[in-house]
C-alpha cells in the first residue's frame, strides 16, 4: 500500500484538526467552547505546514493518490483559504453558540476533503473526496440562526448536489465501461474523440458535470446565487472559494485528457463562453451583494475554462493560478461583506453607502477587491486574466479570448457599483449595518488587499510553482 505519513503531513494535520473539533463538539453543552481561541492559530499552523511540505512527491494507495507539484500547490491554497475562512468566521453573529464546534468541524472536514481531492488521480477516489467535501457543506449551509432562507439554501444545495453527484457517478460507470480503467494516467493514453468512443465521451462529460456543479459553471450554476444569499456571510465566504479550488484541481488533472479540437474540449469552451456571459448579465441586475458575487463566480468559472481548453502546461498553470487569484479576491470581498454586515444581515448595495467615511480601510479593501475581480491592473485579477488569455490565444480558441475580453467590459458595471456606493454615495440610509472597524477587521482586510496587490505586481514565484505543476502533469 506504500503509505508514507511523512508525505501527507498537511492532510494529516487537517485530519487532526477535524478530530480535535469532533471531540470538542461531543463535549458537555454547558461547557463553553472556546474554539475560536485555538482554531485560528492551528489553521494558520496548517498553512505553514502545507508550505513546508510543498516538495512532497510520490504515489500512494496503489496509484490512486498522488503527491506532486499540482496537489501541493492546491493544498497550500486550500490551507490558506481555510485559515482566512476560519478567521473570518470567528465573529459570526448568526451562529448559535452551542453549534460553534460543530460548525468548525464541518468546515475543517470539507477543507480536508478538498485536500484529498487535490491529490486524487483516480475517478472513484475523486468522487469520494468530492462527496466528503460536499456532505460537510450540506450541513454547514443551513446553520444560520433565525433565517428561513438558510434552510431553503441548504435544501437547494443538497438537491442540486445530489443530481450532480448522480450524474457524475453515472458518467463514471460509462467511462469505466468504455475505457476499462479509472486511472487518469491511463485514461490520458486513450482516445477521447467522439468518433472513437462516444460512450467514453458521454461518460466523461457527465463526470465533469459533478465538477461543474462545484465550480458553478453554466448550466450547473443555479444553486450558486441562492445559496450565497441564503447562507450566512461567513459560510458563503467558504462555499464561494475553497470548493472552487477543489473543482479546478480535478479539472486541471482531467484537462490532460482534453486536446484542443476535440468535441468535448469545444463543448467546455462553449460552456465557458456561455457561463461568463450569462453570469455577468445576471449580475448586472442584482442588488444583494452576495448575489452579485454569486453571479460573478459563475462568470469566473467561465474564465477558468480558457486555461483548461488550451491543452498546454501554460494553460493548466494559468487555470491553477487564476483559481488561486479568484479565491484570494473573493475572500477579500467576502471579508469586507462579513465585516460591514456586522450583525450578519444580507448586505444590499445601499448598505455600502458612504462606507469610505464609516470604515475607510474596509472601503479601500472593497475597492481593491472589486477592481481585482474586474481584472484591472495592478491586481492579481489582471495578471491572472492576462495569463489565461496568453495561454489560450492561438490554440484554436481565439474567439473565447475575445469573449472574455468583451465580458470584462460588461462586468465593470456591477463591480464598479460596489465602489460607487462605497465612495460616491454620501447619504447613509437609516438602519444601515454598522461596519466592524476593529483592528482585527481592518488588519485582515488590509492584509488580503495587500496580497491581491503584491501578487499582481510580483506574480512570478507563485506562477513558476503553477507552471512546474502544469509541466509535471503533461510530462
Amino acid at each position: 500500500m506504500n503509505f508514507s505519513p511523512t508525505l501527507v503531513v498537511p492532510e494529516l494535520f487537517q485530519f487532526m484538526l477535524v478530530m480535535a473539533l469532533f471531540i470538542q463538539s461531543l463535549g458537555n453543552r454547558d461547557w463553553e467552547p472556546h474554539v475560536e481561541k485555538w482554531l485560528p492559530l492551528f489553521a494558520g499552523l496548517g498553512f505553514f505546514v502545507s508550505i513546508v511540505s510543498f516538495k512532497a512527491s510520490g504515489v500512494m494507495f496503489y496509484g490512486v493518490y498522488k503527491l506532486d507539484m499540482l496537489s501541493q500547490f492546491f493544498k497550500i491554497a486550500i490551507a490558506a483559504g481555510f485559515f482566512v475562512a476560519v478567521l473570518n468566521a470567528t465573529r459570526q453573529p448568526t451562529l448559535a453558540g452551542e453549534k460553534r464546534s460543530d460548525y468548525y468541524m464541518f468546515l475543517a472536514l470539507s477543507a480536508w476533503g478538498l485536500m484529498l481531492l487535490s491529490s486524487a488521480t483516480e475517478l472513484f477516489t475523486i468522487y469520494l473526496a468530492l462527496e466528503l467535501s460536499s456532505y460537510s457543506l450540506y450541513t454547514l449551509i443551513p446553520l444560520r440562526a433565525t433565517d428561513k432562507r438558510a434552510a431553503e439554501a441548504g435544501i437547494k444545495y443538497i438537491l442540486f448536489g445530489a443530481v450532480a453527484t448522480a450524474l457524475a457517478l453515472y458518467g463514471l460507470s460509462y467511462v469505466l465501461a468504455a475505457q476499462h480503467t479509472t486511472y487518469i494516467a491511463e485514461l490520458a493514453g486513450k482516445s477521447w474523440a467522439w468518433a472513437d468512443s462516444p460512450m467514453a465521451v458521454i461518460g466523461l462529460s457527465l463526470f465533469l458535470a459533478g465538477m461543474f456543479y462545484k465550480l458553478a459553471l453554466f448550466p450547473f450554476h443555479f444553486w450558486c446565487p441562492d445559496v450565497y444569499q441564503g447562507a450566512s456571510n461567513e459560510t458563503a465566504a467558504f462555499v464561494a472559494t475553497l470548493p472552487k479550488l477543489g473543482a479546478v484541481v480535478v479539472l486541471v488533472r482531467l484537462a490532460t485528457l482534453l486536446k484542443p479540437g476535440l468535441e468535448i474540449t469545444t463543448t467546455l469552451a462553449w460552456l465557458g463562453a456561455i457561463s461568463m456571459t450569462f453570469g455577468n448579465f445576471c449580475a448586472l441586475a442584482q442588488r444583494d451583494v452576495k448575489r452579485i458575487l454569486g453571479f460573478s463566480s459563475v462568470a469566473h468559472a467561465g474564465y477558468v475554462m480558457l486555461g483548461l481548453v488550451a491543452g498546454t502546461a501554460q494553460g493548466l498553470a494559468a487555470a491553477a493560478f487564476y483559481s488561486l487569484a479568484y479565491v484570494i479576491m473573493n475572500l477579500l470581498a467576502f471579508w469586507v461583506v462579513s465585516r460591514v454586515a456586522s450583525d450578519g444581515r444580507n448586505l444590499m448595495l445601499d448598505d455600502l453607502n458612504g462606507l469610505y467615511k464609516r470604515a475607510p480601510a474596509l472601503a479601500f479593501s472593497l475597492g481593491v477587491g472589486a477592481f481585482a475581480l474586474v481584472g484591472l491592473p495592478p491586481t492579481v485579477g489582471f495578471i491572472g486574466k492576462f495569463f489565461l488569455i496568453t495561454a489560450a490565444w492561438d490554440h484554436g480558441y481565439n474567439w473565447l479570448v475575445i469573449t472574455l475580453a468583451v465580458n470584462s467590459a460588461f462586468a465593470i458595471y456591477y463591480y464598479l457599483s460596489l465602489v460607487r456606493h462605497a465612495y460616491t454615495e454620501e447619504t447613509v440610509l437609516e438602519g444601515s449595518a454598522a461596519p466592524d472597524t476593529s483592528v482585527f477587521s481592518v488588519v485582515g482586510a488590509g492584509l488580503l488587499a495587500a496580497v491581491v496587490l503584491v501578487l499582481g505586481l510580483i506574480p512570478s514565484p507563485v506562477f513558476e510553482f503553477a507552471i512546474a505543476a502544469g509541466e509535471g502533469l503533461l510530462k
Partner: protein, 512 residues
C-alpha cells in the same frame, strides 16, 4: 549616462510614495502644501531628462525582468515622441494642485492622493516600452480619474463617471487581446523589438482595429466622443485639466507608438478612413462647440475638434503632418488645460458655467480677460502663439497629402475662431449681471495661469527647440513606416503575383 538614480522609475515611484505619505499627515493646508512640494520635487527629479540628446534613440533605458516565464519586462525609456508628453504631465501636476486650492473643499487628502497616483500612471504610460507594462499603466489610470469625476464632480457626476469608465475600459479590453496576439506572433512584448518585425497584413488588419478602437475612444474621435463632454463638464477643474492635457494625449500617443510602427500596412490601409473620421471630428467638434451655452461643454467639444487635427496629422504620414500632430498634442495640453483652469476660476466666483451668467468680466476682471483672450487666440491658432505652429504644420501636411483634405479642414479652423470669439466677446463685453462684486485674479491664480501663458508664447515664437527634440524620432518613425509598409505590402502581394505569373505561364503554354 549615470545620474545616480533611475530617472524614469523615480518619476513613476516618487508620486506613489508621496501619495502613501499623505496618509500620515493632517490638516487641509498641510496636505495641499505637501502635494505641491511633492509635485515640484517630481519636476526636480526629472531634471536629468534635460540631458536628452536630440536623436531617434530610446534613452534613459531601464530594463528589468518582471515575469520571465512570460517574457514580461519592466522596461522604461523615452524618445522624441514621449519626452514632451512627460514634461507636460509633470508640469500639469502642480498647476492642478494650485487650481484646486480653494475649489476642492471636501475629502482633500483623497483628492490629492488621486492626483499623485494619476501622475505616476501617466508617466508610466508615456515611458513603458513593454506592451503589458504599458497596459498596466494605461488601465491603472482609470481608477483615480473615475474617482476624480465621481467624488468631486458636478451634480451629474455619477452618470458621467460611469460613462467614462465603461467607454474607456470597453475600448481597451480588445487592446489587451491585440497585445497578446503580438506576443504570440512576434515572440516578445518589447515594443522596440516588435518594431523591428514585419507582420502579415491579415494580422496587422485585426490588431490595428483592436488597438485603434481603444485609442480612438481615448482621443476621442467622432463618433466615440460622447463620454468626453459629460466627463469634462462634471469633472472638477483639476480633473478636466488632466483629462484634456494628458489623458486625451494617450490615445494619439498610442497611434504614434503602436499603430504606425507595429501595423504599418494596416495603418496605410485604414488611413483614408482615419483621415475621414478626423475631418469629421474637426468639423463636428467645431460646429457643436459653436452652439454651446455652457463654457465647459464648449471647450470640451472644441477638444474633439483639436484632437481631430492631431489624428489627421498622424495619418497623413508625412513629416509636417506628424510634427504638427505631436506639436498639437503639447499645445492642446497647455492651452485647453489653461482654459479649463480659467473656467474653474470663474466658476468659483459665479458658481455657474453658463456664458449668460458670466457676462461683462472685461470691466471688473481685466487680468482674467487678458488670459482668456490669450488662451483663446492660442486655441484657434493665432500667429505668434503655440497653436499656430501646430495647426500650420498640420495644414501644410494636409495640403501636401492632398488638396481636398487641406480644403476640407479649413472650415474647422474658422469654426474654432468663431466659437472662441463668440464666447470671448460675451465674457468681455456682455452686460454684467453680477460680475461687479468679483475680485480679479489672486496671486495663486496668477501663478497657475501665467506658467502656461509663458509657454504659449515661448513655443509660439521659438518652436525650433521643440521641433529639434521631436524631429529625429519622427523622421525615424516615418522612415521605418514607409520601408516596412512596403515590405508588408510586398508580402501580401506575393501570393497574388505568383498566382498571376502562373496564370500567364499557363496562357503562354496553351498558346504554344
Amino acid at each position: 549616462m549615470d545620474y545616480g538614480y533611475p530617472v524614469l522609475s523615480s518619476l513613476v515611484v516618487f508620486p506613489l510614495l508621496a501619495a502613501a505619505g499623505l496618509f500620515i499627515i493632517r490638516g487641509e493646508t498641510v496636505v495641499r502644501g505637501y502635494t505641491l512640494a511633492a509635485s515640484i520635487f517630481e519636476i526636480i527629479l526629472a531634471i536629468p531628462l534635460a540631458n536628452y540628446t536630440f536623436n531617434a534613440d530610446f534613452q534613459f533605458v531601464e530594463r528589468i525582468s518582471w515575469v520571465s516565464r512570460w517574457g514580461l519586462e519592466y522596461h522604461l525609456a523615452v524618445d522624441g515622441i514621449s519626452i514632451l508628453m512627460i514634461w507636460l504631465t509633470l508640469f500639469t501636476l502642480p498647476l492642478c494642485v494650485l487650481c484646486s486650492w480653494t475649489y476642492i473643499s471636501k475629502r482633500i487628502k483623497e483628492f490629492h492622493f488621486c492626483l499623485l497616483f494619476m501622475t505616476a500612471a501617466c508617466v508610466g504610460v508615456f515611458t513603458a516600452m513593454d506592451l503589458v507594462l504599458f497596459y498596466v499603466f494605461w488601465e491603472a489610470m482609470l481608477i483615480p480619474m473615475y474617482l476624480l469625476i465621481a467624488v468631486w464632480g458636478g451634480d451629474d457626476r455619477k452618470y458621467a463617471s460611469i460613462k467614462f469608465f465603461l467607454y474607456t475600459l470597453a475600448g481597451s479590453t480588445l487592446l489587451l487581446v491585440a497585445i497578446v496576439a503580438f506576443r504570440i506572433e512576434g515572440g516578445t512584448f518589447s515594443i522596440p523589438a516588435l518594431m523591428q518585425q514585419t507582420f502579415s497584413f491579415r494580422f496587422q488588419f485585426w490588431c490595428f482595429l483592436a488597438m485603434a478602437l481603444a485609442f480612438a475612444i481615448k482621443v476621442p474621435m467622432f463618433p466615440f466622443h460622447t463620454w468626453l463632454p459629460a466627463a469634462h463638464v462634471q469633472a472638477p477643474s483639476a480633473g478636466s485639466v488632466i483629462l484634456a492635457a494628458i489623458l486625451l494625449k494617450m490615445g494619439t500617443y498610442g497611434f504614434l507608438r503602436f499603430c504606425l510602427p507595429l501595423t504599418p500596412a494596416a495603418s496605410e490601409y485604414f488611413a483614408p478612413m482615419m483621415i475621414a473620421i478626423s475631418i469629421a471630428s474637426i468639423l463636428y467638434g467645431g460646429a457643436v462647440a459653436l452652439g454651446q451655452s455652457d463654457i465647459k461643454k464648449l471647450i470640451a467639444y472644441s477638444s474633439v475638434g483639436h484632437m481631430g487635427f492631431v489624428t489627421l496629422g498622424i495619418f497623413l504620414f508625412n513629416q509636417r503632418g506628424v510634427e504638427g500632430a505631436l506639436f498639437q498634442m503639447l499645445n492642446h495640453g497647455i492651452v485647453t488645460g489653461g482654459l479649463f483652469m480659467m473656467i474653474g476660476t470663474v466658476y468659483e466666483r459665479s458658481h455657474s458655467r453658463d456664458i449668460g451668467k458670466n457676462l461683462g468680466l472685461g470691466k471688473y476682471m481685466p487680468a482674467f480677460m487678458f488670459f482668456w483672450g490669450l488662451y483663446s487666440l492660442a486655441s484657434f491658432g493665432f500667429p505668434g502663439t503655440n497653436g499656430f505652429v501646430g495647426e500650420a504644420l498640420v495644414f501644410i501636411g494636409a495640403f501636401q497629402h492632398s488638396l481636398l483634405v487641406g480644403f476640407l479642414i479649413v472650415p474647422g479652423a474658422l469654426l474654432a475662431a468663431a466659437y472662441m470669439f463668440r464666447v470671448g466677446l460675451k465674457l468681455a463685453w456682455g452686460e454684467p449681471s453680477s460680475a461687479k462684486s468679483w475680485r480679479d485674479l489672486r496671486s495663486r491664480e496668477w501663478i497657475y495661469l501665467l506658467i502656461p501663458a509663458v509657454l504659449v508664447f515661448y513655443i509660439g515664437l521659438a518652436p525650433g527647440v521643440f521641433l529639434k527634440m521631436i524631429d529625429p524620432s519622427i523622421e525615424k518613425l516615418l522612415a521605418d513606416y514607409h520601408s516596412r509598409k512596403q515590405v508588408a505590402q510586398v508580402q501580401t502581394e506575393q501570393p497574388m503575383q505568383t498566382a498571376a505569373r502562373e496564370l500567364m505561364n499557363g496562357i503562354v503554354e496553351a498558346k504554344n
